[in-house]
């Protein structure tokens, strides 16, 4: 190394910075496997679908089933209830009832409060959440906060006349 090279300050600084940048990026990239390992493992991901016999649920009744470990409410709604729901709406997160049920007599919603994840309790008018008092109607639409959104709709399909499949196929 010649004398002059040693004295080239700018060049040294540049090399120092590049080394720091490459090393930093490498260290950051090395974090990824650790962070990613905390995501759901494949066996958890494989609990993807749930199948239900609809004949088990008489009109006016609700059944809670487990899908991906989450509770899903399957409600067999009566014509009166359907009529009432298609007329009313939510002021917080308005959405027509038709968009919320593929077949109007079957309402399928994820039973997890959109506020902080408690399971709402069934009432005559719909559900009310025991944790912070959110209320939902029989279409799963939020009537009273603090929940910001309607109950989530899971992906589902009527694979046969009386068979419901929850989850993506």
């Amino acid at each position: 190394m010649s004398e002059q090279e040693l004295e080239d300050r700018e060049r040294r600084d540049f090399l120092g910075k590049v080394t720091a940048a490459v090393g930093g990026a490498g260290a950051a990239a090395a974090c990824w496997p650790f962070i990613s390992s905390m995501n759901p493992a494949t066996n958890v991901l494989s609990k993807a679908t749930t199948e239900i016999e609809l004949s088990m649920i008489p009109e006016g009744e609700t059944k809670t089933v487990s899908w991906q470990g989450k509770p899903v409410f399957v409600v067999h709604r009566s014509p009166d209830q359907i009529a009432a729901m298609s007329k009313s709406n939510s002021r917080i997160d308005p959405q027509p009832d038709e968009e919320r049920a593929k077949k109007s007599e079957w309402l399928v919603v994820v039973g997890i409060c959109t506020h902080l994840g408690c399971v709402p309790n069934k009432t005559d008018k719909g559900w009310s959440c025991p944790c912070h008092g959110s209320e939902y109607d029989l279409s799963g639409r939020v009537l009273k906060g603090p929940a910001p959104k309607n109950l989530e709709l899971p992906p589902y399909d009527f694979v046969a006349d009386d068979k419901l499949l929850i989850g993506k196929t």
């Binding site: 493992a41 958890v44 487990s66 991906q68 509770p71 408690c118 944790c131 008092g133």
Partner: protein, 419 residues
């Protein structure tokens, strides 16, 4: 023989010097009252929690299917398992009692101000670490309250803009709190206390650098300092005795006092208990969360309610020392704040009725109002106090402090000229 060993060590490690410097000759203000005991007590409870926790971990199983039963096993079959568990569960509450008093002391006497800002901030970090540790530990019994508490708190992270849902799933390792969650919470609950120990070390190094504060708010003259040992070791140990009497009363006679009875039912992911409440030490913050009708707003307010303490050294603009002791307006504000926190805790424990929501909102407003009022209030109070003239007592202290300063500068100058 002992002397030989010690001198052997002293040639390789500054043992005697360290003990002298930090303990037997460590100068401590002679006017410390019993509110200055709580730092030591916090250290004691930390050690107690680590020891009882390690022994509990030898019998506990962090598994969604086995956890609940393993707690029963500890309670019924492990020798003195009940004692280990009740020490640990009561210890958690004791830890917060001690820490809250320790913080209240600092606020009352205004000792978060220069040069002790870093003490205050490392203390804040310790508080957050403690809260995280307590929260994760609470999931481990896998009862209904444990489960739904964890479900609700992890959901708070869903308020993260854009990637909220992904963050929640990542934290849990599942779509709901499940086996993956309890396992990682156990590991982190084991790890965090050691991070706390590290932080405590930094807290103590800072303490021994800036020295203990004292009720006067001034650094006292050298003649008003006495060695830590034996004077304050004795005082701390006496305080410890009183603390242990109260602590053991709960451990042995009311061990279930701090345990929700709902938690004796195993976790059920499909059913939320009718009324879920967090542990008592989270109640004020929980009340603030519920007071805000908007979800993101609620989470932000709750986080802010803890982080806002960090700003105290800047919010308090008065130069009058001694905190509440010489500052009547600040003292009133302090008591308003303490009572208000108690109101929030009460609201947090109640079901969310309309009246409670209203009360919670008012108390939340006051909570933040106190912090926002402080800069103006402290400035005006300072002016008012200076106009009115300070009391003899304070003037004496200021004089003491000034002569102390003068002497310090004089010696520094002398040293300078010598060189």
């Amino acid at each position: 023989m002992a002397r030989l060993v010690i001198s052997w060590i002293d040639r390789r490690f500054p043992l005697t010097k360290f003990i002298k410097h930090e303990l037997t000759e460590y100068p401590t203000p002679r006017n410390l009252n019993y509110w200055w005991n709580f730092g030591f007590l916090a250290g004691f409870v930390l050690v107690l929690q680590i020891i009882s926790g390690v022994f509990l971990a030898m019998h506990y199983k962090p598994d969604a299917l086995l956890a609940f039963a393993s707690i029963e096993h500890i309670m019924r079959e492990v020798n003195y398992g009940w004692l280990l568990r009740y020490l640990h569960s009561t210890g958690a509450s004791a830890f917060f009692v001690v820490i809250f008093i320790h913080m209240a002391r600092t606020l009352y006497y205004g000792t978060y101000r220069a040069p002790r800002e870093l003490m205050w901030w490392t203390g804040q970090v310790l508080l957050v670490l403690l809260m995280a540790t307590a929260f994760m530990g609470y999931l481990l019994p896998w009862g209904q309250m444990s489960y739904w508490g964890a479900q609700v708190i992890t959901n708070l992270f869903g308020a993260t803009p854009m990637i909220g849902d992904e963050v929640v799933v990542w934290l849990r390792g599942d779509f709901v709190v499940g086996d993956a969650t309890i396992n990682r919470f156990f590991v982190l609950h084991f790890l965090f206390p050691f991070l706390i120990c590290g932080m405590v070390l930094i807290h103590l190094v800072a303490l021994h650098y800036v020295r203990s504060s004292n009720p006067s708010g001034f650094n006292l003259d050298a003649k008003d300092n006495i060695p830590f040992h034996p004077y304050f070791t004795t005082k701390d140990l006496f305080g410890l005795g009183v603390f242990l009497v109260i602590f053991c009363f709960f451990v042995f006679f009311y061990p279930e006092f701090f345990i929700e009875s709902e938690n004796n039912i195993p976790a059920d992911p499909l059913n939320t208990p009718a009324h879920i409440v967090p542990e008592w030490y989270f109640l004020p913050f929980y009340a603030i969360l519920r007071a805000i009708p908007d979800m993101l707003g609620g989470v932000v307010a709750m986080v802010l309610s803890i982080l806002i303490f960090t700003a105290m050294p800047y919010l308090d603009r008065s130069k009058i020392p001694g905190g509440s002791r010489y500052r009547p307006a600040y003292r009133i504000l302090f008591y308003v704040f303490v009572v208000n926190v108690a109101v929030l805790a009460y609201v947090g424990a109640q079901p969310p009725t309309d009246a409670m929501t209203l009360l919670g909102r008012i108390a939340t407003f006051i909570y933040f109002g106190v912090f926002l009022l402080l800069p103006f209030l402290s400035k005006h109070e300072e002016k008012w106090l200076l106009e009115r003239g300070l009391s003899r007592e304070v003037l004496d202290l200021i004089e003491g402090e000034e002569s102390h300063e003068r002497r310090r500068k004089a010696t520094a100058r002398r040293e300078e000229t010598k060189r």
